[in-house]
């Protein structure tokens, strides 16, 4: 069954820059040390169940879920817990972390039993396995997958969309995964589909990945899964835009995909679910694109979680001689975060590490908004970024809230397109943080008044 995809409003088409699209995934060699954060997901940090000096094996639980919205963390290799400490996260915060010193043996612990007959297994068993495997959204948000797959009672989900769009420029990790392990993606899709009891499963891929579309189409033959080709338009892979493209449903403002009976999951997360169920393997490694023109060898690597960015860059041959690296970005150029240190470990949601050279990076000194309206035309949420940014500059956050700043998905199209070089998406982020804080304060005050 092929249905025509819908077109969302706006969007941009940045330079794709997918340098590593033809590079097969390489397994990163074993490292002497791994820094494994206990908080790689949205929600409560995992609680460490090992102490300094303990011997651990690969795949062994290091930290168990610290609440309902949380995920366990597993050891990337065998060795000793050298330190219980903190490490730097992408946003600059210190995260609780364990440093594992490898013993070089890489001995695997007794794996969880494979559920070979998953087609007939109880969905609850499958869900428990996904929770135990510590799987989180690997596209970037890092929301615990088991929580996402547990709709509240009475909520029905009829469509599962696997996000293989990878609209973010420069990144190729999902593309390579679909090329090299299409069957793992499909079995993951079917497992997740079984857990949710959906009627329709769609793997959505952007039209610039024809090879992946072909392979995935082959892989899904004989299964109820569809592969849908989507037009190349950033942010095609944004959740709300993707749901609209695939199903024509519009997620209401402030609501979740579940409110339109959809669940969206990254292909890498689905593949991890397949791995956890079929092979009993928890999530302790992931595919990450290490790229950028300053690198000698841009590559797609399968890293153990806890590999430092500095190690990742070394594995890619380091920086070319004579090239000045201006920025290191965790994620892609549109939505990624610029980091100031290379002592950040690869986490479950690290889809890419991107280097930008001095020449590529244009620094803008923003000028006044001349109301050209380009941002209006680009905003896929149909907001008015220009007007909002002026309101935010004047600290009129209540006004910005009325103009729907909370619907901003921070895709960055506005800042990308702005001819005046205004940091529009940064303004939105600021306003959203202020509004969220104000809402929290208001609800706290309301609670206090009740008491």
């Amino acid at each position: 069954m092929t249905t025509k995809a819908n077109k969302f409003y706006g969007g941009v088409h940045p330079h794709e820059g997918k340098l590593s699209r033809r590079d097969a995934i390489l397994a990163a060699p074993l490292q002497p040390l791994y820094t494994v954060p206990l908080q790689m997901h949205i929600g409560a940090p995992a609680k460490a169940v090992v102490a300094k000096g303990d011997k651990v094996l690969r795949g062994q639980v290091l930290g168990e879920a610290g609440g309902f919205v949380s995920a366990p963390v597993h050891s990337p290799t065998s060795g000793t817990v050298r330190e219980v400490t903190t490490c730097l996260g992408v946003n600059g915060a210190q995260l609780p972390a364990l440093v594992i010193e490898s013993d070089g043996e890489d001995t695997e612990c007794e794996p969880m039993p494979a559920i070979a007959d998953w087609e007939n297994a109880d969905p609850k068993t499958l869900l428990k396995r996904i929770a135990d495997a510590g799987i989180v959204g690997m596209g970037g948000a890092a929301f615990p997958t088991a929580v996402k797959l547990s709709p509240p009672p009475g909520r029905e989900v009829d469509t599962l969309i696997l996000n293989g769009v990878e609209c973010e420029p420069c990144l190729t990790a999902d593309h390579r995964l679909m090329l090299e392990s299409p069957h793992q993606v499909v079995s993951g899709a079917l497992i997740v589909g079984r857990i949710l009891g959906v009627k329709r499963i769609v793997i959505a891929i952007e039209a610039n990945k024809q090879d992946a579309i072909g392979l995935m189409r082959e892989a899904v033959s004989g299964t109820p899964v569809d592969v849908m080709e989507l037009r190349v338009r950033y942010p095609q892979g944004a959740e709300k835009q993707l749901i609209y493209a695939v199903t024509g449903r519009v997620v209401p403002s402030g609501k979740l995909p579940m409110d339109v009976r959809c669940v969206v999951m990254n292909v890498a997360s689905a593949a991890a679910c397949g791995d956890a169920v079929c092979n009993g393997r928890p999530l302790y490694e992931r595919i990450t694109t290490v790229t950028g023109t300053p690198l000698v060898n841009p590559r797609n690597y399968k890293f153990r979680i806890g590999t430092l960015y500095s190690t990742a860059l070394e594995l890619c041959g380091g920086v070319k001689e004579g090239v000045e690296v201006a920025k290191v970005i965790s994620g892609g150029p549109m939505m990624g975060f610029s980091v100031y240190s290379l002592d950040i470990p690869v986490m479950k949601n690290t889809s890419g590490i991107l280097l930008l050279s001095d020449e590529e990076l244009r620094q803008f000194s923003p000028s006044a908004c001349i109301r050209c309206g380009h941002c209006n035309d680009a905003c896929p949420m149909e907001l008015q970024p220009g007007i909002l940014s002026v309101q935010i500059e004047h600290q009129k956050f209540d006004l910005a809230e009325k103009w729907h700043v909370m619907d901003c998905i921070e895709c960055g199209c506005c800042a990308y397109i702005c001819p005046a070089g205004r940091p529009l998406v940064q303004h939105m982020r600021r306003a959203k943080a202020v509004v969220i804080a104000a809402r929290k304060a208001a609800s706290a005050a309301a609670q206090g008044a009740k008491k």
Partner: protein, 319 residues
């Protein structure tokens, strides 16, 4: 800004061809004064120097092209001061001004010195390279229409001539507004580069054509055909200059496409009303300034609702 100035060059060239080298002189004086006044205001207000964004030069160019070729130098300078000072810098500079600065300058001059501002040189007998082609004053096509509209002066309607000179620009008028062809070339460039929206000039000009056409049908003039009348309304006066270069100014017009169309429609209505029933023969400048005041309101009404806010009601979530 530089592209807009480049797009104005054909019209300026036409102005020089029709009215002589003084057309260029007037425009350059305005551009230079605007830049100087912008620089001075920036110093005075302790702003960062914004001359580099070329918007002041563009304002000067537009102002100059909105003046008659005979405009004395002091008028160019005063007009520039009003445009930059009153029209732009007192609102905080580029991006803050509610009105099109060049039009503020032009209208202020028009109200203060109506005589100098309506001293239209007839382009007859112009040879390339002359300073000012002719010192004869000629009525502009719109002034002819204005008088024709009164029943007593129906005879004057015989003055309505061929449309070709109007299209090429060989007529009386402001130095940059007369050649519809040159303005069309510049406008097409801006549309092709997506600097302006094609909907704005189209809707603006079409609205004027339709309203004046209807007015003509209600009260036809002797010896004048509908096509000739509407042609004079559309090609005469500053409609093309206004529709392509001033109703499309980003700062002072609505943000959204929908809003821009509403804006253009309003400009067309007001221009027609002024031309048909107002005191002045020409209404383009006034109409754009009046619609400028409505821009924030249009913006608010045409803002639309974000993805997921409006359409939840009409997109039924189907199984």
């Amino acid at each position: 800004m530089l592209w807009v100035m480049a797009a104005l060059l054909p019209a300026l060239a036409a102005g020089v061809a029709v009215f002589g080298w003084r057309a260029l002189y007037v425009t350059l004086v305005c551009m230079l004064s605007c830049v100087v006044f912008e620089y001075a205001s920036c110093r005075l207000l302790h702003h960062e120097n914004s001359v580099g964004d070329a918007s002041a030069a563009l304002t000067g160019m537009l102002l100059g092209m909105n003046l008659p070729v005979t405009a004395p130098t002091w008028m160019c300078v005063v007009g520039s001061l009003l445009a930059i000072g009153l029209g732009k810098m007192c609102y905080g500079g580029l991006g803050g001004n509610p009105f099109n600065p060049a039009l503020v300058g032009r209208v202020a001059l028009f109200l203060a010195c109506p005589k100098e501002m309506s001293f239209w040189v007839a382009p007859n007998g112009c040879a390339l390279g002359t300073w000012v082609c002719s010192t004869l004053t000629g009525a502009t096509p719109l002034a002819v229409l204005k008088t024709s509209a009164t029943p007593h002066a129906a005879a004057a309607s015989q003055g309505l001539g061929d449309l070709l000179p109007l299209f090429l620009g060989n007529i009386g008028g402001s130095l940059g507004e007369t050649s519809a062809l040159a303005l069309l070339i510049g406008g097409a460039v801006l549309i092709a580069l997506r600097i302006i929206r094609w909907q704005v000039p189209l809707v603006y000009i079409a609205t004027v054509a339709v309203i004046t056409g209807i007015a003509f049908l209600c009260k036809p003039l002797a010896n004048v055909t509908l096509a000739s009348y509407v042609g004079h309304q559309v090609l005469g006066g500053g409609l093309f200059l206004g529709a392509f270069f001033m109703a499309t100014d980003m700062v002072t017009t609505p943000l959204s496409r929908k809003g821009a169309v509403v804006f253009a429609l309003g400009c067309g209505v007001i221009t027609s009303v002024i031309r048909l029933w107002g005191a002045f023969p020409e209404g383009v400048s006034f109409s754009i300034l009046i619609m400028n005041t409505l821009t924030p309101l249009i913006d608010r009404c045409t803002a639309g609702r974000p993805f997921g806010v409006a359409r939840t009601t009409d997109v039924e979530v189907k199984a």
